[in-house]
């Protein structure tokens, strides 16, 4: 067979053989990749060099190359770590404690909820839900408008609801399913956090828990739970149900199945979910702004505080942001190792 000579156009766009890329494709894809890499990395670089600049150098204009464009100085680092010292360390530790404990709690509790939603079928009766809402409304009305004691109304309301459910729920036909529950859980994230920030603030103010780790941990956990449930449910649903049934026949309790079968098998999912929630609570600003003032202040607040009355202190901000990035990088390194493929292969015949 005689091979027709290729035109220049074909030579550019068709690969020479099956192993290589066409020259033009190669040039094109690498230039797009390079361009995007620059877009992503440049702000980080800029941040890094800014942290070594004097205020006067920052206001001089954009200079990027240390030792040539400008003489690097450690003054911002000295100010943050030596002059401020403990005042930097405190928010830093706060951030670490709050972000890590709220993440662990959200992922663990969320996983349990996700497991239940994949493996147990719930059928909340519509009638019972309506009954709950009506009784709750009554309780609120009696407490707020009629000014009855809340201990009294609440306990009567509770007793009423329990007897209502026991007496009538068997007559209700229509019921919701697991997907409705799941949607209800995720719908809490549809609402912007600003909507709920004031009630949360007042709640903790009434409880006297403002500006404590506890308030922030609980709030972050609650805010991130829907995400954990939503993500983990998908990973659990992929685990064959036979594994659980087999373990149960082997003599395992439900909790045991969850801890020794489901959690290890969902490791990649756990890692991804943990990473995402960790980043969300690490960077959270709005809730922290309301719930903490000094003792429980977190890093995002500290960074924002550098935009002070004297105008934005870019050099201090840069230092803080650089040190803020480090723990996340370390965590990502550890967690990323857990995201490995093929956890489930060999469980069941496909």
């Amino acid at each position: 067979m005689s091979v027709k000579p290729k035109s220049l156009w074909q030579k550019m766009w068709e690969p020479k053989d099956l192993q290589s890329m066409a020259p033009a494709t190669k040039v094109l894809s690498y230039s797009i990749l390079l361009f995007w890499t620059f877009i992503v990395l440049f702000p980080l670089y800029w941040l890094f060099v800014t942290s070594f600049k004097l205020p006067i150098q920052v206001s001089d204009g954009p200079y990027y190359i240390p030792f040539i464009d400008f003489e690097p100085s450690l003054h911002a680092w000295e100010y943050i770590f030596i002059d401020l010292g403990r005042d930097t360390l405190r928010p830093y530790m706060n951030s670490i404690i709050i972000a890590s404990s709220s993440t662990v709690l959200a992922v663990f509790i969320g996983s349990m909820a996700a497991y239940a939603l994949t493996r147990i079928e719930y059928k909340p009766k519509v009638g019972s839900i309506v009954g709950f809402i009506v009784i709750l409304g009554l309780v609120v009305y009696l407490t707020v408008v009629v000014k009855m004691q809340w201990q009294l109304t609440l306990s009567i309301g509770f007793a009423l609801f329990v007897s209502f459910v026991f007496a009538f729920s068997r007559y209700f036909k229509r019921s919701l399913g697991n997907n409705d529950i799941l949607f209800w859980i995720i719908s809490q994230r549809i609402m912007p956090p600003v909507v709920s920030v004031l009630p949360i603030y007042i709640m903790f103010q009434q409880l006297g828990l403002l500006d404590t780790h506890f308030a922030l941990i609980v709030t972050y956990m609650a805010v991130n739970l829907p995400i954990a449930v939503w993500l983990m449910r998908d990973f659990f649903a992929r685990i064959p149900v036979e594994l659980e049934e087999s373990a149960m026949l082997d003599g395992a309790s439900r909790m045991r199945v969850f801890l020794t079968i489901y959690m290890p098998l969902a490791k990649p999912g756990l890692a991804a979910t943990t990473m995402l929630i960790l980043i969300l609570s690490w960077n959270e600003y709005l809730l922290a702004l309301f719930l903490s003032t000094a003792d429980a202040q977190t890093m995002p607040l500290m960074v924002a505080a550098q935009n002070a009355t004297r105008g934005p202190q870019w050099w201090y901000m840069s230092v803080l942001i650089v040190v803020m990035i480090v723990p996340v990088l370390i965590a990502a390194g550890f967690i990323g190792k857990m995201i490995s493929k093929g956890q489930l292969s060999g469980a069941v015949k496909g």
């Binding site: 064959p240 036979e242 594994l243 049934e245 087999s246 373990a247 149960m248 026949l249 082997d250 003599g251 395992a252 309790s253 045991r256 079968i261 290890p264 098998l265 093929g342 956890q343 489930l344 292969s345 060999g346 469980a347 069941v348 015949k349």
Partner: protein, 363 residues
């Protein structure tokens, strides 16, 4: 341990899957639940295991009513169709998991795991993970995990269906041997009649959520209770010829035979297995047919003939010797030569005779 199911029913919503099943399984017996897919046999097994709730009726293991007992307290070992190995545990950990849950000490556990692994010839694979094993090996791990302790009951849900033909017959023999050796009562679900025939002490043929016949494999084959059992057990399938019974004689459009002792019946079916038929030169043979296809299996020839019948598509399958040769389309005569001819009622499917008719009685 003996097992008894008493008037078991199971419904999903309005659909009844198991419609009143009574079964008694003696201690040490190997019972096979045989039936087409969707007949309710797996549901039945899962109800014994406690993985499925019972809508109505009771399950007894030994003398104890376990209908409402959690699976973990039933002391049952189950082998799943899909093996259900724990992928994050090594073979040894997989096999030892039931013992770990029973708080058996580490040394005893290791010894028991090794013993169980030796039985299924996996002692060299204890450190591997399920993903590094072939299908047959995975299946054997699942078996070893079931056998590592002495449960009251083995449940097996089509455990061999994912293996290739050769491995399957090998594992079949091994299973039968092991079950007799351990003498643990076993309930085995399959849709494969060869498995049922070879493994079982007793076979329960199930269709539409009802036990059609519960008997020894031999009786199931030789004396089927109804049309369904007759048609489901045996390969190639039993031949059915529709006709009428009148004054002790069966007649259809292509054949006429004597059938003494059977009451008149307008719609009845004559059943005869392929091995009880012969293609002969004799023009006085019972059935006239034309050859439709000839398949040589090696040790025998399966001849499919279409009956010269006005009912289209009716076929009769004859099992001939391996050296039988004939052209497709040739006119042949088929003679009933064997000892087992059955008569069924076409409407209800029930047998009309209590004992199979012999070929001699037909003439």
């Amino acid at each position: 341990m003996s097992v008894a199911l008493k008037a078991i029913r199971k419904s999903y919503g309005n659909i009844e899957v198991v419609k009143g099943v009574d079964l008694e399984i003696e201690d040490g017996q190997f019972l096979v639940l045989l039936g087409p897919s969707g007949c309710g046999k797996t549901t039945l097994l899962r109800m014994i295991a406690g993985l499925e709730t019972v809508t109505e009726g009771q399950v007894y293991i030994g003398a104890e009513d376990v209908t409402q007992v959690l699976p973990k307290y039933r002391d049952i070992a189950m082998v799943f169709q899909s093996y259900a190995l724990y992928p994050h545990m090594s073979v040894a950990e997989n096999i030892g998991y039931p013992l770990l849950l029973r708080k058996v000490t580490k040394d005893k556990r290791a010894a028991a795991v090794l013993d169980a692994a030796k039985v299924v010839h996996l002692e060299d694979y204890l450190d591997r993970y399920p993903r590094q094993l072939s299908g047959g090996q995975r299946q054997r791990v699942a078996l070893a995990r079931a056998m590592v302790r002495r449960p009251k009951l083995f449940l097996m849900d089509e455990p061999l269906s994912n293996l290739d033909a050769q491995l399957r017959s090998q594992m079949r023999a091994e299973l039968k041997h092991l079950q007799k050796e351990l003498a643990v009562t076993t309930v085995y679900v399959t849709h494969d009649q060869i498995e049922a025939m070879t493994l079982a002490d007793k076979v329960a043929v199930i269709n539409n959520g009802v036990v059609q016949q519960l008997d020894t494999p031999r009786n199931i084959y030789n004396n089927p209770a109804n049309l369904f059992v007759a048609g489901f057990v045996g390969s190639p399938q039993m031949n059915f010829i529709r006709g009428q019974v009148k004054a002790g004689g069966f007649s259809s459009e292509c054949s006429a035979v004597q059938c003494p002792g059977i009451e008149d019946n307008q719609a009845s079916v004559l059943g005869v297995r392929p091995e009880d038929l012969q293609i002969v030169e004799d023009a006085s043979a019972e059935i006239n047919a034309r050859i439709y296809s000839i398949e040589l299996t090696g040790d025998e020839t399966i001849v499919t003939c279409s009956i010269e019948d006005r009912s289209p598509g009716s076929q009769v399958v004859v099992r001939m010797d391996a050296d039988y040769e004939q052209k497709v389309g040739a006119q042949v005569a088929i003679k009933i030569t064997g000892e087992r001819v059955y008569f069924f009622d076409a409407e209800s499917g029930q047998r009309l005779d209590s004992e199979p008719h012999t070929a001699r009685a037909l003439r």
